[in-house]
């Protein structure tokens, strides 16, 4: 796990890599340097269009372009793509089910020093409520690259969630295969299963080791596709381990934790505990400090796992 790369970097690289294979255009709203669409802008200036600081217009423009048959990536920070432009995403892109791929970077609190106004912990909740929207939250740079290509190959609106901070790469680029809508069972566990998404997947893998040292056998599932959710796998691991912990860099309301709770309540009720941002706003600070302050470390997952296991009795 030595190598680290931010998923936004992988997003920018993927756009360039896939540009010859697929016909698409890229839009941004004055954040190309940060979202990393700048890589595509430099390589394919005739297929890149800056929309200026006007995210609502960008989403509806993207819908217009997509309506002519051309796939479009529309990029901004998660706060402005899902938050500011929610209604445009819902009505211009979601309702007509147009082929727009929203590349939302700087999701969650790992935005760091920019602080609460720019740390979006609500985007998954917002996007989940849009019928027909596919939501992918890649766990590392390898998965992010694969997700971009799958989005291009799959007709319809996508919300691709990327992070700002460099994070460990744990998938093997050579062997990795991305299956849309399928959770990845990274480890089986008898006592509890940690169902994680995004940057919390590598934290979950660390937590598994910590738990093993204390005699608790924890499984780990990577949910890269939050919608449609792999409810079958979630029910299966819940049944096998009898307890579930969810882990996400997002509000515990409306995100993975809520989606898993809904799935478990309907299919296989077992004790569960949610690890995530606890219905509050972020703060300026360095990433490791924030992860600790907001309870998003492997130690927090360990604690939650023990609570979940205790609830089984």
């Amino acid at each position: 796990m030595a190598e680290k790369l931010a998923t936004r970097e992988a997003y920018g690289n993927a756009l360039v890599e896939l540009a010859e294979k697929y016909d698409f255009v890229v839009l941004d709203a004055d954040l190309a340097e940060a979202t990393k669409t700048v890589k595509f802008k430099k390589a394919y200036p005739n297929r890149f269009f800056d929309c200026g600081i006007a995210e609502g217009n960008m989403m509806s423009v993207a819908a217009g372009i997509a309506s002519t048959g051309k796939p479009v990536f529309a990029s901004s920070f998660a706060m402005f793509a899902a938050g500011r432009a929610f209604e445009q995403v819902r009505n211009s892109i979601g309702y007509p089910h147009l082929n727009v791929k929203i590349g939302a970077t700087h999701a969650g609190i790992t935005v760091g020093e920019d602080g609460a106004t720019h740390q979006c912990n609500e985007d998954i909740a917002l996007m989940r409520t849009i019928p027909g929207m596919t939501i992918v939250n890649p766990a590392d740079a390898v998965e992010a690259r694969a997700a971009v290509e799958v989005a291009l190959k799959t007709e319809g609106p996508f919300y691709l969630r990327f992070g700002r901070a460099a994070m460990p790469i744990f998938n093997d680029e050579k062997t990795y295969k991305f299956e849309l809508g399928k959770g990845v069972e990274l480890a089986k566990g008898k006592d509890v299963t940690i169902v994680a998404t995004g940057i919390m997947v590598s934290a979950a893998l660390e937590a598994k080791e910590l738990l093993a040292a204390e005699g608790i056998d924890a499984g780990v599932v990577n949910i890269h596709t939050i919608k449609p959710l792999d409810t079958a796998l979630i029910a299966k691991v819940a049944k096998a381990s009898g307890a579930v912990v969810t882990a996400e860099e997002h509000n515990i309301i409306g995100g993975l934790g809520s989606a898993v709770a809904e799935a478990l309540a309907e299919n296989c009720p077992v004790p569960m505990v949610r690890v995530g941002v606890k219905d509050t706003y972020g703060h300026s600070g360095p990433v490791p400090t924030l992860l600790e302050a907001y309870g998003l470390t492997p130690a927090d997952i360990v604690k939650a796992a023990k609570t979940a296991v205790a609830k089984k009795a």
Partner: protein, 275 residues
């Protein structure tokens, strides 16, 4: 314009107005006022200006139209039906479940509708996106959109205008249906967007001001728009809300209410008398 052509267009517009009244009466709701104000513009677009094929509504090289003021769908549906995209009788299913003629246009269910619209401010951006796509692909189709005067209070309309001028979308023609009334009252009293022409000029548009219920002025404006290079064109079309039905003309209350049986009979008598 030849007298014969003018007369034919006016007759078609009159049939479209009848369709608006038939549809909103049957639906017992809807937006007749703005539908009647924009009727002449839509009639000219679909019967003279735009290169479309009712037998192949998704033809990729067609000219495109976005009704950004989507609540005036009754007029768009009536024009599309007259033009042969679907049967005129279907106008009586307006706003009913499970009719494909919803309260606001749905591109995935109604033949001839190029973009779902109705949430104000979004359609003009989508039209700009289509115009940009034509430029990217080196296609010659043109894109038309109609926004309302009240709709122009939405900030996104101006974001779209900035975008259209920045990318020199001379294949985009924005018509402002300036009927002067919105739900809460006269546009000038609710939130005045004037001077609309100067604002659009400042945003980089070629601006043409016309009487939007005069077929010859409409024709001349669209012809002029096609000669403009390097910038988008805006046609500020001064219209009469409720045009063609005496008791609806210039009355705020007819923005969003349907005629009852008595009003329906009177409206049809007036329109059929003029056909």
């Amino acid at each position: 314009m030849e007298a014969k052509k003018l007369q034919s267009l006016q007759k078609t517009a009159n049939r479209v107005r009848i369709g608006v009244i038939e549809g909103t009466h049957a639906a017992k709701s809807g937006h007749p006022g703005g539908s009647l104000s924009v009727t002449d513009i839509l009639t000219y677009l679909y019967f003279e200006e735009m290169n479309v094929d009712p037998k192949n509504p998704k033809w990729e090289d067609r000219d495109r139209f976005v009704l950004s003021k989507g609540h005036c769908a009754p007029a768009l549906y009536a024009v599309l039906a007259e033009r042969g995209f679907f049967p005129v009788e279907e106008l009586l299913t307006l706003r009913k479940y499970p009719s494909r003629l919803q309260g606001h246009p749905d591109m995935n269910s109604t033949p001839g509708v190029d973009m779902s619209a109705g949430s104000l401010g979004l359609g003009i951006s989508a039209a700009a996106g289509m115009a940009l796509a034509a430029k990217i692909d080196g296609k010659s189709y043109r894109v038309y959109t109609v926004v309302g005067d009240g709709e122009s209070e939405e900030g996104q309309v101006w974001e779209a205008c900035m975008f259209a001028a920045h990318y020199k979308l001379d294949n985009l023609c924005v018509v402002v249906d300036w009927n002067g009334l919105q739900i809460d009252g006269p546009v000038a009293e609710v939130m005045n967007p004037t001077p609309h022409d100067k604002k659009l000029e400042a945003f980089g548009f070629h601006v043409i001001s016309i009487d939007g219920n005069d077929m010859e002025q409409i024709a001349a404006a669209f012809e002029e728009a096609k000669t403009v290079k390097g910038k988008p064109t805006a046609i500020i079309a001064k219209t009469v809300k409720g045009k063609g039905v005496s008791f609806m003309e210039n009355q705020v209350k007819w923005h969003g209410s349907a005629p009852n049986d008595e009003q329906y009979a009177q409206a049809l008598a007036e329109l059929k008398g003029g056909n």
